[in-house]
Symmetry: C2
Subunit: 304 residues, 2 copies
């Protein structure tokens, strides 16, 4: 989907927030100069073709360059992973003891999407985990997901998971473990970003939290979403492989893949995509007709 009017103010707010997280004493002049560069970038871009995460890539690169640090969010990313790891054992127990461990693992993975400092919301992971009920999903295509997974296991196809943020990746690991336990022969491939961008997970994170030990981890692209133009060949192979389907985590991946009304800037594969995310902004409220904070589990071709 292309940039919507809601995204413009949000992008400038995100930029300021990023500066405040990484360098709280940053000067007015440096921020204003970066804000002006973002305005020039937006004016020079075709706003009718560009997705918000593509602007996000430019924006977060600009923040990094302005303060002259290669991966400015490394410290926060480690903190988020550690925060999530501290909840891993308790969450695993909840999942194991649930009536339907797979559904519970899906819920934990969606709630894990809370951990995202680009969005206009506060982190409230503990409460979210404790108070979760299936009604928190305002769109829930779990039954279709489960059926498709059953079919896929028989066909020896591949489930491609598009990862999103650090911290969240720990709960994705629990989801992967849960799927593997139920479908031991299913091939699962997990995609991380191919370069540091915001607090998104990279290969370093997948190795750090032990995900790379239990599943094949590949690199997608250096964008906080999916941009086929800058994606690796390995990613494109799995992305376009028709024997399987995709589980896409988070808002950035959704924003770059969901494209109902306008010509796409890349060809979508001929297979289903399941979007699993927490609605974090006004735009998601409008698109999903839900409230901020709601969980979404939507199959691309199904209407809610």
């Amino acid at each position: 989907m292309i940039l919507e009017p809601e995204c413009i103010g949000c992008l400038f707010t995100q930029m300021l927030k990023a500066f405040k997280i990484v360098k709280p004493d940053v000067s007015r002049d440096l921020v204003i100069s970066a804000q002006k560069k973002l305005m020039k970038f937006l004016l020079d871009s075709n706003i009718n073709e560009i997705a918000a995460p593509i602007v996000g890539k430019f924006l977060y690169r600009l923040v990094a360059e302005t303060i002259n640090v290669e991966d400015p969010y490394r410290k926060q990313k480690k903190e988020y992973n550690n925060l999530a790891l501290a909840y891993y054992d308790d969450t695993k127990k909840i999942v194991k003891n649930a009536d339907d461990p797979l559904f519970e693992a899906i819920a934990a993975s969606a709630i894990g999407n809370t951990i995202d400092f680009a969005a206009q919301h506060e982190i409230d992971l503990i409460n979210d985990l404790k108070n979760f009920t299936p009604q928190n999903f305002s769109i829930n295509h779990y039954d279709d997901f489960r059926k498709e997974l059953n079919k896929l296991a028989k066909l020896e196809g591949t489930l491609l998971i598009l990862g999103d943020n650090t911290g969240e990746i720990v709960f994705d690991k629990l989801l992967v473990e849960t799927i593997k336990e139920i479908y031991p022969n299913l091939e699962i491939v997990y995609a991380v970003r191919s370069a540091p961008v915001i607090n998104d997970s990279t290969m370093e994170d997948a190795e750090e939290i032990g995900l790379a030990k239990i599943v094949k981890v590949i690199e997608s692209c250096p964008v906080p979403g999916i941009d086929l133009k800058s994606a690796t060949e390995e990613f494109k192979k799995y992305f376009y492989d028709e024997n399987g389907f995709i589980l896409s985590k988070g808002q950035g991946n959704f924003e770059t893949l969901h494209n109902p009304d306008q010509p796409s800037n890349h060809e979508l594969p001929d297979k289903n995509i399941y979007y699993l995310l927490k609605a974090k902004c006004n735009l998601m409220e409008r698109i999903f007709n839900c409230a901020k904070g709601d969980l979404i589990f939507k199959q691309s071709s199904l209407t809610p």
Copy 2:
């Protein structure tokens, strides 16, 4: 004060909010095209000299032009006046029965500043009025204000009040009445905007709610703040008159007059200014070291 980094994202958010209030079905293309014009305006302006309300004037004019309506907020302004008028009698009783009616009227006038759709907050006037305590003022120079008013009454000077929003103006009327009752010989002059801009009060509102009957009302400038370059001669006469002091309502007036760190784009008068407002955004939190929603009653030359 000049535009701060916090203002940039807020200005784009304000613009979108204005479109949604006035024309909820406005198209993406129209909004995006206005957003781009705002970017160009900011890039062409000297951001080191421009105050946010000056950009606000451009922004709200742009909204009006985009949807081709001269005073797009007329309907909302009438609603805000009527909303406030519905609380007028009850508020007047509270003020009359208070231990210090002047302080109570000041509080009501500050709480009236809640009514402002440019700001990032929700209107919660009723609760604010019912739950008010003096502790809601995080800066409170009322004692100095009172002393200065006593002195002014003896000197036959002029109190110039800089009005702000519609709705709010009803509680300003109550404040004016209260001051007149205590200081019957004091000259009070109330300034409204000289042209429609956002939901700010104009002469039409002052007449509609009966303020113009009890006090001299003059027109300041066509800006949601004070811009001496476009101000009327009559306003400048009262603004620079040294025999008196100023009570400035709201954030827009504050933002254009408060200027501690950088060269001012206009000469301030040689008299005190009392700022009475509700802190409505992150920037005010930073400047006043307060929380959003706090009331501020600050004399310009005093530190909190």
